[in-house]
């Protein structure tokens, strides 16, 4: 097994529905330990791009390549994780949700107890481990989902607007979890349309508009001197279509 399935290289990804291109020749790279934030207006294709990278859907053309293309599909699945906008939790206890993920990620039984404790501790849910996951508040549910995704120590974590419907305190907790995981070596690819969040978290910014990657730059450069007119308009709070 390789040390990391990264870098991830997307080459000329295209995805179309009924002839309409929704993702149009997007190429990008995610490096080991990177923190990439994908921003752009609603309907630009951000979520679709994330699903293509994570392998939930297949591109019509183009390729997603992992660390030289040597790792098997099973290993690739186990070393990456994704968090969706709406927290999807199994109808089981908080603890059982994490156990389930660990089991399918191939974490040996002996190593699970420690991983569960660490995940619950991280999510601040240590005292709720026996509670039914779906009875938690929405903020707690999303924290649990992030902790579940991180429990297997993935090389890369994809997140699709994970804080879109959360209160500020919960947003803060989720962001702290992401920064902590990133510091521990997990690369993060985060889709958001909250530019404040992109400024707070991102090291690299990818700007997507109408299914195309219009700009790709380090965060500081992007927010100080956006090069594309679309990105400039977007950052100025204009409506771009």
């Amino acid at each position: 097994m390789p040390d990391s399935i990264l870098p991830l290289q997307a080459r000329e990804l295209c995805y179309q529905v009924n002839g309409t291109p929704l993702i149009d020749r997007i190429s990008l790279t995610v490096d080991v330990g990177g923190f990439t934030v994908v921003i752009g207006p609603n309907g630009a294709g951000k979520s679709l791009l994330l699903r293509l990278l994570h392998g939930l859907i297949e591109p019509n053309s183009g390729r997603v390549e992992w660390a030289g293309g040597t790792a098997s599909n099973g290993v690739l699945r186990m070393r990456q994780a994704m968090v969706f906008q709406r927290p999807v939790l199994l109808r089981r206890s908080v603890e059982a949700n994490i156990v389930y993920a660990l089991k399918w990620l191939g974490v040996p039984r002996a190593a699970r107890a420690a991983a569960i404790d660490a995940a619950l501790e991280r999510a601040g849910l240590a005292d709720r481990r026996r509670a039914q996951a779906r009875l938690l508040s929405v903020g707690e549910q999303q924290r649990l989902v992030v902790a579940r995704a991180l429990a297997g120590k993935p090389d890369v974590l994809f997140l699709d607007e994970p804080t879109a419907s959360l209160d500020p305190a919960s947003v803060q907790q989720i962001e702290a979890l992401l920064l902590e995981a990133n510091a521990a070596g997990t690369a993060i690819v985060l889709v958001t349309h909250d530019t404040g969040q992109a400024r707070r978290l991102g090291r690299d910014i990818v700007f997507v508009h109408r299914g195309r990657l219009t700009e790709k730059a380090p965060a500081e450069a992007f927010f100080d001197r956006p090069e594309s007119p679309e990105a400039r308009a977007y950052l100025n709070g204009e409506i771009i279509v």
Binding site: L56, R77, V88, Y100, R134, Q141
Partner: protein, 247 residues
């Protein structure tokens, strides 16, 4: 004419009163015949529902998570089979098990086993069709997460069946309701033989045709009582089931 109607009406009222006291008498005196009939009814129907759940839930869940050509036709067929007439099932099982039939050598006709077979055939489509719907709805919600975790095939079916467990209890109950209440299939393949294949529904049919309305009604009251008790017990157990609040 009017007079006859009144007399019949009065007689019926008396019958109903008599039925209630007879039912109470039979139950509280621990009437062995009654308990034998009730016991057989429950054994046959519970066994049939257990088999139907094992087959129907697996089948329903498999159809719920897979896409294949002709799938919608299969679903229409399955839904239509929910309304399978018990007498037709009884007749088919009779033909299979009768001395001259393909399975005649087994000598199962007019035994409780034959009744279990008939009720299993009757209940399986109900369980399968309802399970398909429950599992498919849940699958919509879980699909991407399961895909993300690499959960496929049997693992997927097992996860969904387990997570739909509270809804599936209701499905099993619906199956039990159909089994315990039907008379058409068991009377054909069981033959309503006293002390051997006499069930509550077949006994009610027999006593009614003999004009023994009080006994028939008493059995009917017991049957409805069992149905209520089973559902009440499940509702009490279900009270422990978590309600989804933020879902």
């Amino acid at each position: 004419m009017l007079r006859t109607g009144l007399v019949t009406g009065l007689a019926l009222m008396e019958d109903i009163q008599a039925a209630f006291s007879l039912a109470a008498g039979l139950i509280f005196s621990g009437d062995t015949d009654l308990f034998e009939i009730v016991g057989l009814s429950l054994t046959v129907s519970v066994t049939a529902v257990a088999f139907a759940c094992a087959i129907g839930m697996t089948l329903g869940a498999a159809i719920g998570v897979t896409r294949f050509p002709g799938r919608s036709a299969v679903i229409v067929l399955l839904n239509a089979l929910m309304g399978l007439p018990p007498v037709v099932v009884g007749l088919c099982v009779y033909l299979l098990l009768s001395r001259a039939g393909p399975l005649g050598v087994l000598g199962l006709l007019y035994t409780p086993t034959a009744m279990i077979v008939a009720q299993t055939i009757l209940v399986t489509p109900v369980v399968a069709a309802l399970t398909r719907q429950v599992v498919e709805d849940l699958h919509h919600e879980y699909d991407e997460v399961l895909k993300s975790l690499g959960v496929k095939g049997i693992g997927r079916v097992r996860t969904l069946l387990w997570d739909a467990r509270y809804s599936l209890i209701t499905v099993a109950l619906a199956g039990f309701g159909r089994a315990v209440a039907e008379v058409g299939a068991v009377i054909i393949v069981g033959g309503n033989i006293d002390h051997l294949t006499r069930m509550m529904t077949t006994a009610i049919a027999l006593e009614t045709s003999k004009g023994n309305l009080a006994l028939a009604l008493a059995l009917g009251i017991v049957l409805v009582g069992i149905s209520l008790a089973v559902n009440g017990a499940v509702a009490t157990l279900g009270g422990a089931a978590p309600r989804t609040r933020n879902a």
